[in-house]
């Protein structure tokens, strides 16, 4: 049975706008014009226990709004949402005790106090029994490697260190579902890798369902098997990551380094060919022409020094997808 069920969820916001024209600023002080924005438009999906889902979309697409509805903060205008057999905004207190939230841009730790104090407070807020708490904390401290950070005031931690503490704070009460809103924002490469590694482990070991919104496609690629794409409040794609790639980026790219400079020429089955000095870049569609055929065709004409076949960069796929859908 699915853990999270959303059907036909819609939410509108009223946005005040300043009137245009010469005296717009002055008029705006007296009369307000407001515009209704449809942030979410009949969003429907289901998520099963233990799934790791990437939720992506351009800025302002409605990602955070969805997360806020699922965490019981916002009430949608229409639609049904059932998470762990509860309606989040109706039984908020019970609901939030089973979920964990990490907002990359907001902190849930006490700024002036050591993280340890914040954890102690969370223990009381979630009424975690002392023994369970001790055990869980030891586990998190070890896997996230935050032992030395616990006694330092949070304001003195680096962003990467703080984020690890934030994740620990979100998981202290062993939630069944974890919402991560841009968890890797602003982190350096090492911290990102460490955080992804941890999330993956936590997902496998404890079966925590995770929903991750992000703009970092590497997050999605390394973590999520399933991707949902939202744009202008509508769910545009929901499926496996390779399906997304197949649909929006069927082409593969061959980068061949040759022995000598060459002139441009044609190869059967190639969608596009670019030559830059002695580097040859060929795009082709593997469902039409198999990769080995392409390599043979190139190799038959020139001596190859090195060759790499890769997928199109996922960032580019998403960018072209947004473009295609006029987002």
């Amino acid at each position: 049975m699915s853990q999270i069920e959303l059907s036909c969820i819609s939410k509108t916001f009223k946005i005040s706008q300043r009137p245009e024209g010469k005296f717009g600023m002055l008029r705006g002080a007296f009369v307000r014009e407001s515009k209704i924005i449809r942030a979410l438009d009949e969003i429907t999906f289901e998520i099963n226990e233990g799934e790791l889902v990437g939720y992506i979309g351009p800025n302002g697409a409605g990602k955070s709004t969805t997360v806020k509805i699922m965490s019981g903060i916002l009430t949608p205008d229409e639609g049904k949402c059932i998470i762990l057999n509860r309606i989040p905004w109706k039984e908020r207190v019970e609901h939030v005790s089973c979920i964990g939230v990490v907002f990359g841009q907001r902190s849930q730790l006490w700024w002036d106090l050591p993280a340890q104090d914040s954890f102690g407070l969370l223990k009381d807020i979630y009424s975690i029994p002392y023994r369970v708490y001790k055990k869980r904390l030891a586990e998190l401290v070890e896997t996230l490697d935050i032992d030395v950070l616990l006694k330092m005031p949070v304001r003195q931690l680096s962003l990467g260190q703080r984020m690890r503490c934030e994740v620990a704070a979100a998981l202290l009460h062993s939630p069944k579902i974890l919402f991560l809103d841009e968890p890797t924002i602003g982190l350096d490469a090492v911290s990102k890798l460490a955080l992804r590694e941890f999330l993956k482990k936590e997902n496998l070991k404890n079966g925590v369902t995770m929903i991750l919104t992000t703009h970092d496609m590497d997050d999605i690629e390394t973590l999520c098997s399933r991707v949902m794409v939202i744009g202008r409040g509508k769910l545009l794609f929901d499926g496996r990551l390779d399906m997304l790639k197949e649909k929006y980026s069927p082409l593969r790219c061959i980068n061949a380094v040759l022995d000598k400079h060459i002139e441009i020429f044609s190869i059967d089955g190639a969608d596009s060919i670019k030559v830059n000095g002695n580097v040859l870049t060929v795009l082709f569609n593997p469902s039409k022409t198999a990769a080995h055929t392409m390599v043979e065709r190139i190799a038959s004409q020139f001596p190859l020094k090195d060759i790499v076949i890769e997928e199109q960069d996922i960032d580019e796929i998403i960018a072209s997808m947004y473009k295609e859908m006029c987002l």
Binding site: F13, S64, K68, S71, G72, I73, L74, T75, E91, R92, V93, E94, V96, S97, I99, V101, F103, Q105, R106, S107, Q108, W110, D112, L113, D117, S118, G120, L121, D124, I125, Y126, S127, D181, E182
Partner: protein, 282 residues
């Protein structure tokens, strides 16, 4: 909704824990306490000077005595008013205000705890912590002043005990009113103006600027029953002896009644506001 002990006990424990952590945070600011204390002391000394001039040289120098407040009582009142004044809701706690305006209230709402009592505990802690440094320094300076400027002993022992109980009620009342204002402020579009005016009105009606007994005669009965007398006027009357311990029952009862009214309205208002809350930013 879980009800009864199963639900409220963990909440109570969490609230105490929040209160503790917030207090621990507040006590870090020693320098601010010292600076604040010097402001308070300076203010009291000016007040005492002005009152002394009025009581000694004005055309109508018996007016104060007729109102029932001697200069000596007034001096003590001024000192203690500075202590009680620290509990008054003068502004919404900066942390809470920050959470409302930046949208971090989202995180607070992801906690399995009633947001009203969560913030109540925080507000309560911020009302109490200034007393620790700023309050205690002001108090110590008050009792070592030369006779004309000194904070005198309480009028009677029973009056003192009543004052302590009334102090606790004042603490509850101040926190409850602070939370009511906070609930009003949850309407993000209001800005700070209206809430400041409301809090300032409370401050004036509390007697912090001019003891309520010195206000015009015809206003006296109104002044005593309005909620803000409970901030400091009631406990201070008990201390200086212008209110008899026998009257403490109804006076403290009045404080608690108002506190309950504020808690009830604040909490209902907050739950209404939360239903339609706009969570700002990303």
């Amino acid at each position: 909704m879980k009800t009864g002990k199963a639900f409220y006990m963990p909440t109570l424990k969490a609230c105490l824990s929040i209160f503790r952590i917030k207090t621990a945070q507040g006590l870090q600011y020693r320098m601010a306490g010292l600076a604040g204390a010097s402001t308070s002391i300076f203010w009291v000394l000016i007040e005492i000077t002005v009152y002394t001039i009025f009581y000694t040289y004005s055309n109508n120098k018996e007016a104060g005595q007729i109102a029932g407040l001697s200069l000596r009582q007034l001096v003590s009142y001024a000192w203690l008013a500075q202590l009680f004044f620290l509990m008054q809701p003068m502004r919404i706690d900066s942390e809470i205000l920050g959470k409302i305006t930046s949208g971090d209230v989202a995180i607070e709402m992801c906690r399995p705890i009633d947001l009203y009592f969560h913030w109540f505990s925080k507000t309560a802690a911020t009302k109490l912590t200034p007393l620790f440094w700023r309050g205690s320094i002001t108090f110590l300076v008050g009792i070592i002043m030369p006779a004309a400027y000194r904070l005198s002993l309480p009028a009677s022992f029973s009056g003192f005990i009543c004052m302590l109980i009334s102090f606790a009620s004042a603490f509850l009342l101040c926190t409850a009113f602070g939370m009511l204002v906070c609930a009003l402020r949850l309407n993000i579009k209001w800005g700070d103006g209206p809430t400041h005016i409301i809090m300032l009105m409370g401050g004036i009606l509390s007697g912090a600027y001019l003891p309520l007994q010195l206000w015009p005669e015809f206003m006296q009965s109104f002044l005593l029953v309005q909620p803000f007398a409970g901030y400091l006027d009631i406990p201070l009357r008990l201390y200086v002896g212008t209110m008899l311990p026998a009257d403490a029952y109804w006076a403290i009862g009045l404080q608690i009644t108002w506190a309950m009214i504020f808690i009830f309205t604040g909490r209902s208002l907050m739950s209404v506001r939360l239903k339609s809350i706009i969570v700002q930013g990303g």
